[in-house]
């Protein structure tokens, strides 16, 4: 098993963090210009799209319990060596702690030394830092606003 857990505390409400995670108009501001396409129902297909319309990652919604918990089946679709690793599992959990929301993202795959988990471990901290900045100050970090860096 390869696994990472990313935790960030955001001065906001569970509902606002949930909306920022699940609504395309918010996603585009802090997620490297990318957005997600899905109906947000259990079993629905799920896609993470580059701003030019290509699919970056795809899978399905496994569990959804707004505004607390979201589980996605997740496969990379733009780097063949990562696509070959198959599906990973990404779990997002939101808990209120005082006036903060604890957001935990667990990304795991049933294989050792996964290149996918290594690849996303560079992206997640930047996405989450930027999300926090966006929700707390209204401004996402500059380098997460466009897709350019992801494609390298």
């Amino acid at each position: 098993m390869s696994q990472y857990i990313y935790v960030t505390y955001i001065r906001s409400t569970q509902q606002k963090v949930w909306d920022a995670l699940t609504k395309p108009e918010f996603q585009k501001t802090y997620w490297f210009g990318m957005h997600q396409e899905t109906d947000w129902k259990p079993g629905a297909s799920w896609k993470l799209m580059f701003s030019d319309g290509r699919v970056a990652d795809a899978g399905e919604v496994v569990e959804i319990d707004p505004p607390r918990r979201l589980v996605l089946k997740w496969r990379n679709e733009f780097r063949p060596e990562l696509t070959a690793e198959g599906y990973s599992r990404c779990t997002m959990e939101l808990e209120a702690e005082g006036d903060l929301v604890k957001l935990s993202v667990t990304h795991a795959i049933e294989r050792e030394n996964s290149k996918l988990i290594q690849a996303v471990s560079g992206g997640w901290p930047r996405i989450l830092s930027s999300l926090q900045s966006y929700l707390e100050t209204g401004r996402a970090h500059g380098d997460t606003r466009s897709t350019a860096e992801v494609k390298k």
Binding site: S2, Y4, V7, W124, L128, S129
Partner: protein, 106 residues
Amino acid sequence: MSMDAVFRALADESRRQLLDRLHDKNGQTLGELGEGLAMSRQAVTKHLGLLESANLVATKKRGREKLHFINPVPINDIAERWIGKFERGRLAALSDLKKKLEREEP
């Protein structure tokens, strides 16, 4: 989560060593993490507690065991504060050059 707590937690060689071990192999128990270290179990427990309260370590239960994971988000927050969009690429290039030069035979 204060940046002071993050810097305090990082200002200790033993705690940086524990983070290095998690970076090499994520999701270890307290016992695994302490193996081969010149630190008592109590010291490892104390250091991990400090790292966890600074949000540099996240934990997860697996049965009766508690697994420890490095959480890179606060370190990214530090980088983000002083390293902007343009510097990131240049610094990566410099860092690559340094690694390359240091590998080369004299």
